[in-house]
Point group: C2
Chain length 325, copies 2
C-alpha cells in the first residue's frame, strides 16, 4: 500500500527526470474566485500531464530483469504517453493497448515515443483485458495500471510533495487542494503527501458532471460506479469507479467532492489562456473551474488547484477561446 | 553600467517576487530542430512576460523617498504591466503613458494593476516625451525606461542567471541562447549573466522581419534604425533601434542576429501550444522560431530559447492554431 515513504522514494527516483512544475497565480483569478488561488500546472510535465510521474515511478520500481521484458498499459491517452516515455528512457519495450477511436494525435504521440501501439475495437466488443492477458503471457510484460497501482500512486504523490514545499515557501499553512479526479491516483497521492508535509491542507476531488463516482462513493461509503463511460469533453478523467486501492485513501483523507460542468471547464481553459498562459485540456481544467465557479462549496481562504493535463486538440481549444468574447 | 554584480543584486531583490520559470523541452521539438531545444517560458512570469523582472528590479532599486513619489513609464504593453505590478507591490503610484490605439486588454490590465494610465494620440502627433516631462516635473515621478536603463537590464539578467543554473543542472556546457530581441534589454542582460555563469554559451538575438535593427547594427558596428515602427504582428519586440546602453553590451558579447518571419512565429505559437502547453505571443515566439526554422544559421548542438511573453489576444492565437491543420 502506498505511504509517504514510498512517495519519497519515488521522488528520489524521479529526480532529474520529472519536471518540477512551478506554482502559478494571477490577481485576476483571485478576483474571480474571491480568494487566493494558486495553480500547479502539470500540463507542463513531460508528455503534457502528471501521468509521466506515475509511469516513471512504476517503471523505475521494477527489478532490472522484469523491466527488461517490457511493460504493458491500457490507455486512450495520457497514461499511454507517460508509460511510453518512461519505458523509452529505460530502453525497454512498451506495449500500449489503445481503443481504435482514441484521438489520432494521442495514438501518434504514443507511437512517436517508441511504444508498440495495439489497437482494439471497443465498439465491436473486443476485450482489451483478454488481449492484455495474451500479451503478458506470451512476452512476460508487466502491466502498469493507470491508478490502482501503489507505485503509480506514489509517483503522482510527488506532485503533492512539490505543492507542500512550494506552498510552504509562500508561507501558506492552511488551504484546500483541488484535484482533477478520475480513478483517484493523483488525488490519493497528493492527499498522502499533504497528510505528511502539509497537515493544514485538505484535498478535495473535482469531477465532471455525470461522472461523479468519487463524490457519490465518499457520501455512501461504498464504491459507486458511473452509468456511462463517454459523452463528456473531460475525457482524461472519465473512469468507471474509484479504485480499490485509491478509494480507502480518499475515504480517510479527502473532503467532499465537487462537480463541475463542461461549460465551467471550457471557461476555465480560456481564463488559463488569458491569465496563466498555459494550456489546460477540459478535464485538466476541472479543479480550477471549481475554484472559479463553485466558491460556495469551498471553505479555505487559499486554494491550490492542479491543472492535470494539457493534451487538447486545437478545435476544442478554439471552442474554449470563443467564450472570451 | 550593468554588470554581473548588479544582476546578482537584482536577483536578491527579486527573490520571492519574480517567478523562477522552468526550463521546458519536448522530443518533438528536438526532432523538428534537428538538435536539442530547451525553452525558458517567461510567458509564465508575473504579468505574462519577462518585463516584470526589469520593472521590479528598477522600482526596488530606488531609495525610499524617491520611490514614494511614484514612477513613470512609456509603454504600449508588457513593460507597462511589469512596472505597474512592481509599483503596486511597493504601494507607490505608477503613471503609464500609453498610446490610445494600444490593445484594449493591455490598457485594461495595466489599469487593473492599479496604474494611472494616461493615453496619448500617437497618430495625432502628440509628443509622449513632452507629456512625460510635464508629469515628472509636476509630480516628481521617476522614469523607468523599458530597456536603456541599467537596473532594468540587471532585472532581465536574472533570467540569464536562471538559464545558466538550470542548464548546469542538466549538464549542458555549450549552447546557443536565442533571445527575442527588441531594444536589447533582455538580450544584453542574459548575455552578461551567461558571460559570468555559463561562459560556454553564446547569445544570439532574434528579430522579426523588417525590424532587424540589432542584426544590422552588429554588422555595421553602428546603431542602425528601422524604417517603420509598426506593421508586424510581433508588437512586443518592435523598437526603433538598439539602446545606447544595451548596444555596447551586445556588441561585446553576442553572436550574429537571426531574422524570422511572421509566419515562422505563428507556426511556432502552434508548436508551443501542442508540445509545450504554453502560450507564446508572436514576438515571444521569435527565438523558438529561429531554432525550429532557421537551423542552418545555428552552430550548437543545444539551443536554449526564451519565450519572452504570452500576452496575445484570442483571435491572433486562433490564427496560429489554424496552421496546425
Amino acid at each position: 500500500m502506498t505511504d509517504i515513504t514510498m512517495i519519497r522514494a519515488a521522488a528520489e527516483r524521479l529526480k532529474g527526470h520529472a519536471r518540477r512544475t512551478p506554482l502559478l497565480s494571477s490577481p485576476f483569478l483571485d478576483e474571480i474566485a474571491g480568494r487566493r488561488v494558486f495553480v500547479k500546472p502539470e500540463c507542463l510535465q513531460h508528455t503534457g500531464s502528471f501521468k509521466y510521474r506515475g509511469g516513471r515511478s512504476a517503471v523505475s520500481a521494477l527489478d532490472d530483469t522484469t523491466r527488461a521484458k517490457g511493460v504493458l498499459a491500457f490507455s486512450s491517452g495520457n497514461h499511454a504517453q507517460g508509460v511510453a516515455l518512461a519505458a523509452r528512457e529505460f530502453g525497454v519495450p512498451a506495449v500500449i493497448i489503445m481503443p481504435k477511436d482514441a484521438p489520432e494525435i494521442k495514438i501518434n504521440n504514443t507511437r512517436a515515443l517508441g511504444a508498440d501501439v495495439v489497437l482494439y475495437d471497443r465498439a465491436g466488443g473486443e476485450s482489451r483485458e483478454a488481449l492484455g492477458d495474451t500479451l503478458q503471457a506470451e512476452r512476460g510484460l508487466t502491466l502498469i495500471r493507470p491508478y490502482d497501482e501503489p507505485q503509480v500512486i506514489a509517483g503522482q504523490g510527488t506532485c503533492g510533495l512539490e505543492i507542500a514545499e512550494q506552498a510552504a515557501e509562500l508561507g501558506i499553512k492552511d488551504a484546500e487542494v483541488l484535484v482533477c479526479c478520475g480513478g483517484g491516483g493523483l488525488t490519493s497521492g497528493i492527499a498522502l503527501a499533504c497528510e505528511a508535509d502539509a497537515p493544514g491542507f485538505k484535498v478535495r476531488p473535482v469531477e465532471p458532471d455525470g461522472f461523479d463516482d468519487v463524490k457519490r462513493s465518499l457520501l455512501s461509503g461504498n464504491i459507486e460506479t458511473n452509468n456511462q463511460m463517454s459523452g463528456n469533453i473531460c475525457d482524461a478523467i472519465l473512469t468507471p469507479a474509484p479504485g480499490h486501492i485509491t478509494f480507502p485513501i480518499l475515504q480517510r483523507l479527502v473532503g467532499p467532492g465537487i462537480v463541475v460542468s463542461e461549460d465551467d471547464c471550457l471557461r476555465t481553459m480560456a481564463h488559463a489562456f488569458e491569465r496563466l498562459k498555459v494550456i489546460a485540456e477540459p478535464g485538466g481544467a476541472a479543479a480550477l473551474a471549481a475554484a472559479l465557479f463553485h466558491g460556495d462549496e469551498l471553505n479555505a481562504d487559499t486554494v491550490i488547484c492542479t491543472i492535470s493535463g494539457g493534451n487538447v486538440d486545437a478545435p476544442m481549444f478554439e471552442r474554449a477561446l470563443q467564450l472570451t468574447r
